[in-house]
């Protein structure tokens, strides 16, 4: 970030949602409907402020807002600083923009819920945390937001807390995130210990200058620690298990937190710390492996899911994998590019799913849907556009970003995994194909064919459809708009994220682009055919290889595996420590000592006859004994 700082007022961006959260909760207790209005307004204000700032942001500069010194002790100094540079600007735009839309959407979606003042308060609190995360000028402020979004995620997943399973899902999300956070913290400690600061402005030159004579191992270590944090937040293997469960929350929450913004925080953090990661090729290789594996596993799992939100959840996990692939290749701007496009189309998909669920009276199983295109045309169209976007069909936004990812991977120049990159690419392309396939499957099952449910679906009201339309438009054209075709190139905008790894950029013809999107086309086409015409085919495939199908529908049994090797042993250990070690051994020793004293006391009590003459005899006998001992012996 060798740029110049401009002092600016940034704090209102984060402050509006915070204030909104408080007001929404306090005033919402009186009148529930106010909560949604306040929260949406707060979010919109925040968005406007972001726009204002971004508009004014000159190239190669960043805004800075030093609020106060948070921690100052010895050589540990942490300022509470907000910064808006290009990266933050992009993220802020996404967060506040998509966030505002989803707030708007929620006012309608949640309009019947008794606790919607809580809901909006949480949602605004989330906005606050997320903005802290992206605005934070150092890792510590980032970490505040990092944990904050985890908390809000926890609260929102468990929003319908009367269902204990939902609450448990929230807890799972928080705890898994916490594991990642622990890694993140260790990374911070390492940086503090060896570099002495977490401020990005100070950190980047310190690390890139190589003054920290610690070598690649240190960078790798720090990078891996931070990546653990990212894994937790962005649901990568092995910490991805919480995200599918997180669908317990209200659908707008899934859209905002578990698709568009929070889960991309890991990617953001990687991009933010990109200067460090590029110096740690081994770590990047790890990131690539994890990312590819995640993408593939999630994609395959999504194939067999029937719950529309679960499909979307796994698809999110898979797409996050794509983002990390880009980051792993050192193409951080690509990762951010995909974050943005993904935010558009995935939010749209989730909101669409929410619309469907809302319309079908909280039915989530796709097997009980179908034929909704007649009842909910807007939802259907927006959903369809987004499916095409995610499938990576040319000119939809997904194509632009995915193509960039593949391009970045093709230019893999990391000494590690160099010989494997070909195979990895094949796997990635296959995953992209699968993406198109399962997304089309969900579209077909939901909107085409005959209605299989028993409810009376209806189109959603305007506060829900407007965001859908906006997002669909963005999903369709956003990619093109950002890729430089319309005069604005995200790559150039985020030039600061290019750490020597200059990605080759080439304009391609439409035909070439269409050809390049062959994986998506194939997937869409295949799925369309299979689920509209050859309906027996999917079942046949699955029957062909029963273990595989079982594995897929069982989601690779990750939950069960973790339960068996981590959770339950730990629970058992806890019980063991309490019952056996604590009560049995330690307390047993203590009480045993007491019991021993007691018992020997009882034993000696026999000698305490209470008979005076007995005592006298003992007294005298002992005296005589000692006298004899002393004088005679």
């Amino acid at each position: 970030m060798n740029q110049a700082a401009i002092s600016a007022t940034i704090w209102p961006i984060a402050f509006f949602p915070l204030l909104g959260a408080l007001l929404a909760y306090v005033l919402g207790r009186k009148e529930r409907d106010w909560a949604g209005i306040i929260a949406t307004a707060a979010s919109a204000l925040s968005f406007l402020w972001v726009v204002k700032l971004v508009w004014a942001l000159p190239e190669a500069h960043y805004f800075e807002d030093q609020l106060f010194q948070w921690i100052s002790l010895a050589d540990l100094k942490v300022d509470f600083t907000f910064r808006v540079d290009q990266l933050s600007a992009v993220m802020c735009m996404v967060v506040t923009g998509v966030g505002t839309l989803i707030h708007l959407y929620s006012t309608a979606y949640m309009h019947e819920d008794e606790g919607r003042h809580r809901f909006f308060a949480y949602l605004n609190l989330f906005m606050f945390s997320m903005l802290l995360l992206v605005l934070g000028g150092n890792l510590m402020v980032l970490f505040i937001g990092w944990e904050g979004v985890g908390l809000c995620s926890y609260l929102l997943i468990g929003f319908w807390f009367k269902n204990l399973a939902y609450a448990a899902a929230g807890r799972k999300a928080f705890v898994v995130n916490r594991i990642g956070d622990a890694g993140f913290l260790l990374g911070i400690f390492l940086l503090l210990h060896l570099v002495g600061t977490t401020d990005f402005v100070a950190l980047q030159p310190a690390i890139m200058s190589g003054n920290v004579a610690l070598g690649t191992d240190f960078y790798t270590l720090v990078a891996l620690c931070l990546f653990v944090g990212a894994c937790g937040k962005s649901a990568q293997i092995p910490l991805f298990v919480w995200l599918p469960d997180a669908m317990a929350g209200p659908t707008p929450v899934s859209a905002l937190i578990h698709a568009a913004t929070m889960v991309t925080a890991g990617v953001y953090m990687l991009a933010r710390m990109g200067f460090l990661f590029v110096l740690a090729p081994a770590a990047l290789a790890v990131v690539l492996v994890v990312a590819v594996a995640t993408a593939f596993v999630a994609a395959t799992t999504a194939l067999t899911q029937y719950d529309i939100k679960k499909v979307l959840a796994y698809s999110t996990v898979s797409q996050l994998g794509f983002m990390f692939m880009a980051a792993a290749a050192g193409a951080f701007w690509v990762a951010i590019f995909h974050v943005v496009t993904h935010a558009f189309f995935k939010a749209c998909l989730f909101l669409g799913a929410g619309s469907v669920i809302h319309g079908c009276h909280h039915e989530q199983d796709m097997r009980h849907m179908g034929g909704l295109y007649k009842k909910m045309p807007i939802t259907c169209i927006t959903y369809g556009v987004s499916v095409l976007a995610i499938a990576g069909i040319f000119f939809f936004s997904g194509y632009q970003s995915k193509h960039a990812i593949l391009g970045a991977l093709e230019h893999w120049h990391n000494p590690h995994l160099k010989e494997w990159i070909e195979y990895i690419l094949i796997l990635v392309k296959f995953t992209a194909f699968l993406t198109a396939f399962y997304m089309t499957r969900s579209f077909v099952m939901t909107f085409l064919g005959e209605y299989r449910g028993h409810a009376h679906p209806h189109e959603s009201p305007w506060p829900m459809t407007v965001p859908l339309i906006v997002l669909a438009v963005l999903g369709a054209f956003g990619g093109l708009a950002l890729s430089g075709s319309l005069g604005f190139s995200l790559e150039h905008y985020l030039a600061a994220l290019n750490f020597g790894a200059a990605a080759e950029h080439h304009h391609e013809s439409i035909a070439a682009a269409l050809i390049n999107s062959w994986t998506g086309l194939l997937g869409v086409g295949l799925a369309f055919v299979m689920y509209t015409q050859l309906k027996e085919l999917p079942g046949m495939f699955l029957r062909l290889v029963p273990p595989l199908s079982k594995l897929l529908s069982g989601k690779y049994y990750f939950d069960e595996l973790y339960g068996a090797i981590i959770v339950r042993p730990l629970e058992g250990l806890a019980a063991f420590l309490w019952k056996v070690v604590d009560q049995g051994m330690i307390d047993g020793m203590v009480n045993g000592t007491a019991a021993f004293v007691d018992a020997t006391g009882e034993l000696r009590r026999i000698t305490q006859t209470g008979q005076l003459r007995y005592y006298a005899l003992m007294l005298f006998g002992a005296t005589v004994f000692f006298i004899i001992f002393y004088y005679v012996l």
């Binding site: 005298f620 006998g621 005296t623 005589v624 004088y631 005679v632």
Partner: protein
């Protein structure tokens, strides 16, 4: 002089044995009174006249009268005779003998080199002088002790009117 001493010694031991052997505590008390007189006599042989007189006044005249008083107060109700316990008796006897013999032997050999007896006279004046000069603080403490003892005895022996015994 020596004859007096040995006579007194025999009387002393006999009366002491009598104290512990009489079944009737009154007899024991009488034997003890006699014993105390003999002790006073022994004090007199050691020229401790004041102490001898005090021995009679305090021990024989006050303490033992109190004991007798209590004995008589209770004697009507003291019907139970203590059964003889050969075990205790044997043990006590052995211990006592061992004690006496061991220490006796030790004394016998230990004080041969003691200086010849002085011609100290324990007159009232002599004792008083020491008592009121060097020992004036213990003396005052002793008076406090007695005061406390009086109060304690009164409190202990008073019949409890307030709290009816259960």
């Amino acid at each position: 002089m020596a004859v007096t001493f040995y006579l007194m010694a025999v009387l002393l031991l006999l009366s002491a044995v009598a104290v512990i052997t009489f079944k009737n505590p009154i007899y024991s008390a009488l034997a003890l009174v006699f014993n105390l007189f003999v002790v006073a006599g022994l004090f007199a042989t050691l020229d401790a006249h004041f102490i001898a007189a005090v021995q009679v006044v305090v021990y024989a005249g006050a303490i033992m009268v109190l004991v007798m008083f209590v004995l008589m107060l209770l004697s009507a109700k003291l019907e139970k005779a203590s059964p003889f316990s050969p075990l205790y008796f044997g043990a006590a006897l052995i211990c006592g003998l061992a004690f006496a013999v061991t220490l006796g032997l030790e004394f016998d050999s230990g004080f041969n080199s003691a200086p010849p007896a002085s011609d100290l006279q324990g007159t009232v004046a002599a004792v008083g002088k020491v008592l009121y000069s060097r020992y004036v603080f213990p003396f005052e403490a002793a008076s406090l002790l007695l005061m406390a003892a009086i109060a304690g005895a009164v409190v202990l022996a008073r019949r409890r009117y307030r709290t009816k015994e259960l």
